[in-house]
Structures are given as C-alpha cells and as structure tokens.
C-alpha cells in the first residue's frame, strides 16, 4: 500500500506532522522535498488524522510543500551474507559506495524478545588474548558487557583489539555519534587486521543526523539476530552508548516528554535494556555477545547512563589510566566458565592474584603515608609492579593458558607458596618449584 500526501503541517525539532488516514504506528515514510532530496521518517505519534513523523535526516531545509509517501511497514533490513565486508549509515544506506542490498529476507528492526525460557545457559568462553579480560573477568558467549570509560581513555583501541582478536564468526560494529577519524580508525583497523571480510559496520558520525544515532544499535542488532538464528556466533561492538542515550534525550525533549534524571527520559532503562537484552545464546543456533563503550561524563559512574547500564549488563570493564582496572571490573558470567571451560587452577589463581594486588596497593599507600614498611610489604610492592607490567598493560597479548602460567611464575617470583593463600593441592600441582609442607 503506497500512499502519497502533499504538504507538511507543522515542523518542530526533528518532528514533522502531516494529515493522513490509515497510517500505522511505527510505519516508515519517505519524505521528498521539492528540490528532490529524500529522507526516511518514522511515525512516532498518531492523533486523529494528524501523523507525527520523526525525520531521520533532520528537518533543516524541509519544505512545507514536501510530499510524504507511506511505505505501509516499519523499518526493515535485509540480512544475508551479503552484509559482510560492508559499511552502512544509520538509515541502512551504503556508506562505502557499493550497491544496495538485494538478498535476504527483510526483517523488522527492534523485533520481539527471545522467549526467556528458550534461552540457553551461557557457558562458552570468548577468548580475547587480553589477560585482564581472559584471566580476571572472562567474556562469555552471549554476555552483554559495557566498557566504562572516560574521555581521553583508549577505549577505541581496546574495542578494536577485541574485535580483531576475539574468536567470533561475525563482527557487527555499531558506531554512534563517532568523530569521523575514530570511525575511519575502526574501519582501517578491521581492514588491516584482515577481519573486514567477516565484519559489517553501521556508522553514524558526529556530523550525521541525530535521529540516525538511535537506529544504529537497532540495525546492528537486527543483523546480529538474523545471523545468530542462522547459526553464527556474533560479536556486536557498540560505541558510544552514551551518545545513543544523549540522542534519546534530545529527541524526548523535542517530543515534549517529561524528563526524569538530568533530562533523560523516564524510559532510559527500558530503552537501553531493549538493546542489551538482544544478547543471547540460542539453543541449536548461534549467539550474540555485546560489548559496548559507555563513556562516563566526568568519570561519574552514578550518572544515569552508566548507572542504568550497570543494572542491565552482566558486569562491566572499568577503563582507567589506560588499563582495565582489576577492582570494580566484573564479569557476572565468569563463574560459568572459570575452571569449567578453562583450566582447574584458573579460579584459585585469579582470586589470589587480585587479593594480593589489593595488598600491593595497600603497601603502596602505606609507603606514601610514611607508615612503617615490612619485609612482606616489599614483596607486595614488587608483585604490584610485575602485575601491572605482565597483565594490566593493554599492549600485552597472551593466550589464556600462557597467561595462567605467567601468573604462577609471577607469584613464585615474589612470594613463598604458603604466602599466597591457595589450597595445597592446587599449589602442589602448579607452583613452579618445590612446595614444602
């Protein structure tokens, strides 16, 4: 059903209203300006014959004489293997100068949830080669995890590295409000790293329309979902989810919605959850794992965006001072793989190493405050230094098993076996050197 209407009644922010009959909520329309320029728009409110449309490319330059063609369906994306190696914008149009998609069944964006009882309990490790992740907060297939970061931290480098190194069949990248340079950085890294052939990118730069920022996660996740149903293990990388939330705020305000915290709409939690909850392990098919960057304005974790995100996701990685922090970072699903999908000494070793690093920090503080230092403190300080160099440095790339071995060697370099607080059987099996009773 194609219906064309001429003339726009009101324009307010990125919302344009027309009078039309028989239009469905959420339906897509094409607005054509008299100068020939076209933009997609989505129905966001119906009141009698008045239809409010959210114009994807913004309303600047939109004429009251424009014509509106309703497509009779919500926004869709064609998903097939054809997507791989391609770059699209926030409206799903090619950004790479190649032709549009013509294969694959069109699927609606933001489709229904997976039935909770049809989900499979996660239990497979996604190895990344980054010891702070693999050893201390393992990423599990179908997990959703944010990287809590700040302006100036190397979250782009970290995310790109995870993309390159993680074992996944397909990478779906969603860039939301990125500076152009950063978007190019990701594309180049994926091309040079040789993974572009199994990557699809949806990119909205800071110069692109705000409304399209809202669509990027939905496009990325719709693609991921179809590929997962087809049996692929998909890793979705989203950056920056704070820009997504800011776009939500901007549009909610222009729709005259009542703001709750710091101007964000009351639905912020549900809006974020609807996206993150797409992470899933499907029985008899593939999976979706989501890693998102959330920059914390002012480094404040209680800001509504990181705060709501923390309640939704299954843990978080804190990126501070250029490292993934061993404290505060958490993988809630880690316990499903540690020692089960990895090695039996993984759990005790990981706990002991973190506990000792906390002691090292205390010893460091003690030193700084001028309290007395003991022989044990000296060991702690040495360990702290080695821990930072061998594990926390983001440049380090080590397969998990080698990282575990290095962990044992590091402990043995600094401590006697009875000082590390690990069960005797484990020590006897793994400690490099003699374990005296």
């Amino acid at each position: 059903m194609m219906r064309t209407h001429r003339g726009i009644d009101t324009i307010n922010g990125d919302i344009a209203s027309v009078f039309a009959d028989g239009v469905g909520f959420g339906e897509l329309a094409v607005i054509r300006n008299p100068d020939g320029e076209e933009s997609l728009a989505q129905v966001v409110r119906l009141a009698g014959r008045r239809v409010a449309l959210q114009v994807f490319s913004g309303t600047r330059g939109l004429s009251v004489d424009a014509s509106v063609r309703f497509l009779g369906r919500p926004m869709q994306l064609r998903v097939s293997q054809q997507l791989l190696g391609r770059v699209f914008d926030g409206s799903g149009r090619p950004r790479d100068g190649k032709p549009s998609l013509d294969e694959g069944e069109p699927v609606e964006l933001a489709g229904p949830s997976v039935n909770p009882i049809r989900r499979r309990l996660p239990g497979r490790l996604v190895e990344t080669g980054i010891p702070m992740i693999d050893v201390f907060n393992p990423l599990v297939e179908s997990q959703k995890l944010p990287i809590f970061s700040e302006a100036g931290e190397p979250h782009a480098q970290l995310l790109a590295r995870i993309g390159l190194q993680a074992r996944a069949d397909v990478i779906v990248f969603g860039g939301i409000g990125l500076p152009f340079d950063e978007a190019m950085f990701f594309q180049q890294t994926f091309e040079e790293g040789g993974v572009m052939g199994r990557t699809v990118m949806f990119v909205n730069t800071a110069a692109d329309p705000v409304v399209e920022r809202l669509l990027v996660p939905d496009l990325a996740l719709a693609a991921a979902e179809q590929l997962a149903v087809a049996g692929q293990r998909v890793l979705v990388l989203l950056t920056d989810m704070t820009a997504f939330a800011d776009a939500l705020k901007e549009i909610a305000v222009s729709m005259e919605q009542i703001p709750s915290n710091l101007g964000f709409p009351g639905s912020l939690y549900s809006d974020l959850a609807a996206r993150y909850e797409k992470a899933v392990d499907l029985p008899g098919a593939g999976s979706i794992t989501i890693l998102g960057v959330t920059t914390m304005p002012g480094g404040d974790v209680t800001h509504p965006v990181p705060d709501n995100t923390g309640y939704i996701t299954e843990g978080q990685y804190y990126l501070t001072d250029g490292c993934i922090s061993p404290f505060g970072s958490l993988s809630r699903l880690g316990q499903l793989v540690v020692g089960k999908a990895t090695r039996d000494d993984h759990g005790p070793l990981m706990n002991a190493m973190i506990r000792l690093y906390a002691r090292a920090q205390e010893a460091h503080k003690k030193l700084a405050m001028g309290f007395m230092s003991t022989e044990t403190d000296a060991r702690h300080l040495r360990y702290g230094e080695l821990f930072r160099r061998h594990f926390m440095d983001l440049e380090v790339e080590l397969p998990l098993l080698q990282a575990l071995d290095l962990g044992w060697r590091t402990l043995a370099e600094c401590y006697e076996p009875q000082q590390v607080g690990i069960k005797r059987e484990v020590l006897q099996a793994r400690w490099p050197g003699e374990v005296t009773p």
Binding site: F25, V114, L121, Y311, I312, L330
Partner: protein
C-alpha cells in the same frame, strides 16, 4: 461483572498508549482487546475523558492505526486461580511462557493467548462439603492433591454474602473447567462452581476472618538476616542495593532455602539470563521439606527488561494475587519481587505519557500510595476454619546511583518491616552477603518465638561488637594501627571475626549457603563464649596472630557438616587456641 460490553474505535496512538472513542460504558481498569489485523493486543483502561478512553497496551503497538476496532471485555485485569499453576513460568499477564512461542520457536509472539493452566489435565477430586450447607466465599468444598499441596476447591472468592450448597460432585477425576458444585445464592440464582476462578489483580483477596499480628520467624538460612535483621511470616522486607552488590544472588538464595510452602518469584524488568539460571537450577534441587524438586513449590512471573513495559507494572500485582490465593488455602507463601524499582519506573513511563504533573525525579505523585498499597497486601491471616495462611513480601530496590535517598527506596522504607541494605563497600571487599550490619534494621522483635537467654546475650554482643569495631576501624584509618591501644585492636579483631566467620556466607557452597536456625544459635553462642573469655595477649602482633587462627578455625567450621569428624577437629583446634591464651576457655562446649 457488567453484562453490557462496550466497543470502541482508535483515535490516537502514542507509544503504548492508545486513545479510544468508546461506544457504550467502560470501567476504569477494564481490559480490552485492540484488533490489529489478525492480532489481538491486550490493553487496560487507565483514564476516561468523556467519550475518549485512554488505554495502555500490554504489547508492542507497531502497526496499530487510527480507525482500528477495540473490544472491551467487561472484566478488570484478572488472573485465573486453579490447580496446575505450580512450577509454571508465566509472563506478567499470567500467560504460560512455554505457550507463547512464535513460528521459529524462539521469540515471543505478539498477541498470543493461552490459558493459564492445562485445561485437559484430570485431577482426582475429593469432596468434603455436603449439599444443604450454608457457605461463604473461600470456604472449602473439596480438594485435589498437587505435588505436596492439598489444593482446596473453594466457594468462589467473589461470592457476596452466603449461599446454600445444593450439589457437590462425587469423588473422581475432573478437569478444572468441569462443574464440581452448585450453589444457590440468597437472591435465588444458581451458580456453578468449577475448580478455576478469576480475580482482579489490583484488588486484594481478603476473604479471611481477620488479619493477625505476625510474630513467627521466617527462617531464611541466611545468618545475618535470621540473627540480626529477622523477618516474620506475613511480614515485609526490602533489599536495596547498587548494581553488582549481590541482590540477585541473595534473592536466588531466598527462593531456594526459605522455609515456606510456596515461593512466587516475580522477575520484574530484570535480566532474562537470571530467569534462565533459576529455571535451570530449581528443578535440580530437592526441597528438604517435601522431597520433591524446588521447582514444584515455585511459580515464576517473568517480565524481563526487554518485554513490554505496561505488562511489567501488572506483573507484580499478578504475583501477589497468586500468593494471596494460596494464602487463602492455608499456605505459607513467600513473594520475591525483583525489582520494585522497575515496577515504579513502568508507572513513571505511563504517567509521563498521560502528561500527569510529575513528582520527585518525575515519578508520579501516587508512587508512595502504590508502594504502600502493595506491601500492605502481605500479611498473616486467620481463615474462616481457624487455620492460618501468610504472604511474606521481599522486594528488591535498585536505587539510581546506589543512592538510598531516591523516592522509591524512601517510599519503601516507610512501609516495610525490615531493611536489608546492600553496600557497595562490602561487595567490593567480597564480603557476601553484602548486607550492611550497621545500616540495616528490622522492626520485628528479635525474640520472635523462643526464649533463650544465651542466644539473646550472643546477639546483643554481636551487635555491640560490630558497632565498636567499626569505630576502631575508623580511628585506625587516621592514626594507623600503632595509634590505638591493644584493647581497641582486640575489639576490632573480634568484629572482624564475627563478620568473616558468621555474617559472611558462601552462597556457592552447599553447606554454608543455608544455616538452619538451631545451628545458627549454637554457632553464635559458641563464638560469643570464645570472644568473651578475655585472652591474655602480650602485644598486637600476638593479638593479630591469635585472631587470624581463631577466625580461620571458626570460618572452616562453617564448611563442616554437623556431627562430622571435620567439625570435631575444628572444635578441638578452637579449644586448643583458646587454652593457649586464657585459663577460662577450656570448656567452651562443643556444638
């Protein structure tokens, strides 16, 4: 119920809110169906403004258009109450999730409809009432056996006044929709009674004789709760905490170990993955009280965070209504609502769309009333036959930024009987359960159903020591360990021992995860005796060494089964440690 059913036509759509021009009378809260193509979307009237009614739709409103028809059902949002609900996983509107699959068998189907219980299943009905009896709503007519529960068939709960029983079915197999009795009401009508009935979720089931003052302990197996901040059968409690503080694990422990007949878990706006964990785990665990699986005593009402928001608001009411029904059967029911903040946020979203004047943090002005109204539905009641039933409600709260000053936490604190506040500092130090022993409180009497002076003294000692230890700890951060006297350091170490060896519990250890009440009493009294013997310690180094060993011994003891040789060994070790430092400690008494 109204005989006349109205219809209507859609005149506006705003998110999940539709405006409907009504033809005929409608009721506030009435359920309606939006006819969107071949799909039927459930909705509820939330405002009437002359000819136009505002409805909130419980599903995604995509493709809903102006001019579509709406059929009102003449009934408020209701649930079905019948045998066959135990072990089921429902959505927020009481649709069984295993019947809501789409064609692929993976996704939830919009507009799906399914009966709440299996209508084909046969139940062995045993009549207990005889024709001629005068009966009132809620009186028992007969029963069927469902797992460990004797499920009574009741005179319909919505019956007004009295009625005369004129027929009761013989013993035999019946489906839930078969007539098992016939009543003649006082106004002369005959009414057929089946094993299933409907009840509107936003109205409390109150067909009992009277409400009682709750004063019987509900044993959760969680030491810090049972010892310091107890809850009672028919009481209420809230568990607020920032993300990552362990709310979910605590809820899962309560669902597993609380000593009740039935548990209703309301997963309201939280992660679907957590529901998966519960579903995978409960069927494998054995209920020590019945020998059946824990799933057989559990009902899950599940509206996870990506499921429609309007049904999230309904889900908590669905859960508490099911609980009230089982209370009416004389059972002891625990409702775990995780999380009431998501429920409050769902109200906020709807309120915002209705353009109501916002209160604090944009929550509606009636937030406090709704929260109070919900917690008031818990309670201990005496039924008409003199037996009792209870609904205990424990709600988690997810305060924004972990700040307890926010409206949902504050509104909740003013109505609950116990507050188990989770602290980020404790969870960061991996001190689980991260219930803050200094901030939390319980209004329920500590001596609930027992009289044991040794236990009272031990609990009092535990409280005082924890408070004083925290003071010493604060002092030491300023002046260092060298700045406090030995006596203070000992108090601090006593506090640490109580924390590490008693308050903290390992949720993933089969034995330590749940401590029965009698063991809690023995263990705490033993710790109390050990710590009040005034050890003679020459200096701080000796004090630290002594307490490190003692703490470890008491800690290891938690992993020893009662009566096991390991327990005897640890007790011996404790006695030896005490004997080394004090003359009076030798007969500390083995547990």
């Amino acid at each position: 119920m109204s005989d006349q059913r109205a219809s209507g036509t859609i005149v506006g759509v705003n998110g999940n809110l539709v405006a409907v021009r009504r033809h005929g009378p409608v009721r506030q809260g009435e359920v309606a169906e939006v006819e969107c193509g071949s799909e039927r979307l459930m909705a509820e009237v939330i405002r009437v403004d002359g000819e136009v009614a505002q409805l909130q739709v419980f599903e995604d409103t995509r493709r809903v258009a102006v001019g579509m028809k709406v059929a009102f059902r003449g009934e408020l949002l209701s649930v079905t109450l019948a045998p066959g609900m135990l072990g089921t996983i429902y959505d927020g509107l009481q649709r069984p999730l295993h019947r809501l699959d789409d064609r692929q068998g993976l996704f939830l189907r919009r507009g799906a409809q399914a009966p709440a219980v299996d209508l084909q299943r046969q139940w062995a009905f045993h009549p207990t009432a005889a024709p001629g009896a005068r009966v009132q709503a809620g009186e028992f007519l007969g029963w069927v056996q469902e797992h460990h529960i004797r499920h009574h068939v009741m005179v319909p709960l919505d019956l007004r006044g009295s009625a005369t029983l004129i027929h009761v079915a013989d013993a035999g197999d019946r489906r839930v929709d078969e007539v098992v009795a016939i009543l003649r009401t006082d106004d002369g009508h005959e009414r057929a009674v089946t094993m299933q009935q409907r009840w509107p979720v936003k109205r409390a089931i109150d067909r009992h004789e009277r409400r009682l003052h709750p004063r019987q302990r509900l044993v959760t197996g969680c030491r810090i709760i049972d010892t310091l901040f107890p809850i009672v059968r028919g009481g209420t409690a809230c568990v607020p905490g920032p993300f990552g503080a362990g709310k979910t694990v605590l809820q899962q422990l309560l669902a597993r170990y609380a000593a009740v007949d039935l548990v209703i878990v309301v997963a309201c706006g939280e992660r679907a993955g957590e529901v998966v964990e519960t579903i995978e785990e409960l069927p494998r665990l054995v209920d020590p009280r019945t020998g059946g699986s824990l799933m057989e005593r559990t009902i899950i009402v599940c509206n996870t965070s990506s499921m429609p928001v309007a049904a999230r608001e309904a889900s908590i009411y669905t859960g508490i209504t099911l609980a009230e029904y089982y209370r009416q059967l004389g059972l002891d029911v625990l409702v775990l609502a995780d999380s009431t903040s998501r429920w409050a946020q769902a109200m906020r979203e709807t309120s915002g769309r209705l353009e109501e004047i916002p209160g604090e943090e944009a929550f509606p002005a009636y937030l406090q009333t709704r929260i109070a109204g919900l917690y008031e539905r818990a309670g201990l009641v005496e039924l008409r036959d003199g037996s009792t039933g209870a609904v205990t409600l424990i709600g988690t709260v997810s305060p924004a930024g972990g700040n307890f000053e926010e409206p949902v936490t504050q509104a909740t604190l003013s109505v609950v009987g116990a507050f188990h506040g989770l602290s980020r500092a404790r969870s960061d130090e991996r001190r689980y359960p991260a219930i803050d022993p200094l901030e939390s409180w319980s209004l329920y009497p500590r001596r609930i159903d027992d009289d044991d002076p040794a236990w009272d003294a031990a609990v009092e000692f535990c409280r005082t020591t924890l408070r004083r230890a925290a003071e010493v700890d604060r002092m030491m951060t300023v002046v260092g360990e060298e700045g406090v006297p030995l006596g203070d350091l000992v108090v601090y170490l006593c506090g640490e021992l109580l924390d590490a060896a008693y308050l903290q519990q390992n949720a993933f250890d089969e034995l330590d995860a749940c401590t029965p009440m009698d063991r809690q009493k023995r263990d705490l009294v033993r710790i109390h005796r050990a710590l009040t013997m005034e050890p003679s310690l020459p200096d701080k180094v000796a004090a630290r060494r002594f307490f490190a060993s003692l703490t470890d011994a008491f800690y290891q003891r938690n992993y020893c089964a009662p009566g096991s040789p390991e327990l005897v060994e640890q007790d011996l070790r404790i006695d030896q440690l005490l004997a080394q430092v004090g003359p009076t400690a030798t007969r500390a008494g083995a547990a």
